[in-house]
């Protein structure tokens, strides 16, 4: 049984369609990459899955449970963790407190278990030395790491990564990819929107291409990238 399924999910804002009959399954522990030109509806897809947007029609099923009408906090508790394209830490809280809030409320961890869990994640994401720093003062790489760490702190079964490698240097990107690989290896399912294709394809098992809110193609990364349709629409290469 898939961990997450979207069935004909559609969403429009007036004449602008951000999702049109989007359907796909995410297997437990699978990593799925999402690519597409700007405005293709990638971040809107995450908003629909995380509960920030309600679909006009269609169903979203998490681990057999219909969560289409569930608000974001319930989806978080049900196992969906999210990072943002533009990092949105709780700027007045310390790095450690950012994780603690996520672990206590999103992961429903006890007051005893949460601190250990958070310190473990801080070590794994390379943020242990920044634990006491106010999150608003972090560098871009550190903020991206915090986005990932905070999503992990909610103990997700599906983690949504939105352009987490964007704006990083090659070395920084490599470090972050190594952490994501580790999370994946531990069995967490991942949906990853990314423009840095070599980083994305080094982790994901399948790639999905979105265009104008529609799923253009979904399959193995090599096959998808070799598709003439993708080359024309996404990479601007004539078929």
């Amino acid at each position: 049984m898939p961990i997450l399924s979207l069935h004909n999910v559609s969403k429009s804002f007036g004449a602008l369609t951000v999702a049109e009959r989007v359907s796909f399954d995410l297997r437990a522990g699978e990593a799925l990459g999402v690519i597409g030109p700007n405005g293709a509806g990638k971040s809107s897809l995450f908003n629909l899955i995380a509960g920030n947007l309600r679909p006009d029609s269609g169903r979203i099923v998490l681990d057999g449970r219909d969560v289409t009408a569930a608000p974001p906090m319930q989806r978080c508790l049900a196992g969906i963790g999210r990072s943002f394209q533009i990092p949105q830490p709780f700027g007045h809280l310390s790095v450690y407190e950012n994780l603690l809030v996520a672990a206590r409320f999103g992961g429903a961890l006890s007051a005893d278990a949460a601190p250990r869990h958070c310190m473990d994640i801080l070590r794994r994401t390379g943020l242990a030395a920044q634990a006491e720093r106010i999150a608003g003062s972090l560098s871009l790489l550190q903020r991206k790491r915090l986005e990932l760490a905070r999503a992990m702190a909610t103990e997700p079964r599906v983690i949504l990564l939105d352009e987490i490698a964007g704006g990083l240097t090659e070395g920084e990107c490599g470090e972050l990819v190594a952490t994501i690989r580790q999370i994946h290896a531990e069995g967490t399912a991942i949906i990853w929107i990314e423009h840095v294709l070599h980083a994305l394809t080094s982790v994901v098992e399948r790639l999905m291409v979105l265009n104008f809110g529609r799923v253009l193609v979904i399959g193995a990364p090599d096959e998808v990238m070799a598709s003439p349709e993708v080359g024309e629409i996404y990479l601007g290469v004539a078929a």
Binding site: G51, N52, M73, F90, H92, N98, G106, G107, T154
Partner: protein, 287 residues
């Protein structure tokens, strides 16, 4: 020596203003809600203490202990049923709703208790005082200041040492992201307003013990509370205490020069602080 005495009386009065302001500061800090009914809710709490004491035949202190949880529930329900419905990007609806609530509370109290002044009678302690060298301080005003310091201290502990406090701060920072971390903002806001009403009840107790009150004096308490919050810096609890003390001391010195200048002096101090430090004494680093 009269100036030292005036300064001390001003500081003690400032403790009461800080209590008025603490709840307002808490609610504003967590949800950016300017509760124009805050002063009237303090007066409502004062009448509740008065009513409980009269009906049950208990002392005002016992009545306070009964009224505080009742006011917590009042705050919780107000937030869940009224304020949460109007909170959003537009600041006007909450202002209109709380203004309307202010009018409703004033008129309901007028209908229920008439315009006659009331007072909470604490017995002999009201007139007891301590002689500290050449100055004399009343026991009740000292308890008021001590309570204000204790309330601010406890609220700070709540904010920075507890899971609920972190949720308050996280929701204050970014309500959308907070929801994605499993926080239920509506409940967090209701907890904040409930706690603010408990503090307002304590403020009401000292207000009623110190002076007469009637249904119409809420808006003036709101004004003092506002000035204290703004002088201290929006979102800073210790700043709110400092703001209360500034207003209290300014009023005490104004009254010492000419009793008619008491209230005006507080407002002038507020304007001077705004001119010199527009963001108050202890503004948050970033907003």
């Amino acid at each position: 020596m009269i100036w030292l005495d005036t300064l001390l009386q001003g500081v003690l009065l400032g403790g009461l203003y800080a209590l008025f302001a603490a709840g307002l500061s808490l609610v504003f800090g967590v949800m950016r809600l300017v509760n124009l009914a805050h002063g009237d809710l303090i007066i409502l709490a004062a009448y509740l203490i008065l009513g409980v004491a009269a009906v049950l035949g208990v002392t005002p202190v016992v009545a306070l202990l009964i009224a505080a949880p009742v006011m917590f529930v009042v705050g919780w329900l107000l937030q869940m049923q009224v304020f949460n419905r109007v909170l959003g990007d537009d600041i006007l609806p909450p202002l209109l709703v709380t203004f309307g609530l202010s009018v409703v509370i004033q008129n309901a109290l007028l209908e229920g208790f008439t315009a006659n002044s009331q007072k909470l009678s604490l017995g002999p302690i009201e007139t007891q005082s301590l002689h500290l060298g050449s100055v004399t301080v009343g026991v009740i005003p000292m308890m008021t200041l001590a309570s204000a310091v204790a309330v601010i201290f406890l609220l700070n502990q709540l904010f920075y040492r507890t899971s609920l406090g972190r949720a308050f701060r996280a929701t204050s920072d970014d309500v959308v992201t907070a929801q994605l971390m499993g926080i239920r903002p509506r409940r967090i806001f209701a907890m904040a307003t409930g706690i603010a009403m408990v503090v307002a009840t304590l403020a009401a107790f000292y207000l009623g013990a110190r002076a007469n009150f009637d249904p119409s004096i809420g808006p003036a308490r709101l004004l003092y509370a506002f000035e204290a919050v703004i002088i201290g810096g929006l979102g800073s609890l210790w700043g709110t205490l400092a703001g209360g003390l500034v207003i209290g001391v300014a009023q005490a010195f104004g009254a010492a020069v000419n009793p008619e200048w008491q209230i005006l002096s507080g407002h002038i101090a507020f304007v001077i602080v705004l001119l010199l430090k527009p963001r108050g004494f202890f503004p948050r680093a970033t907003d």
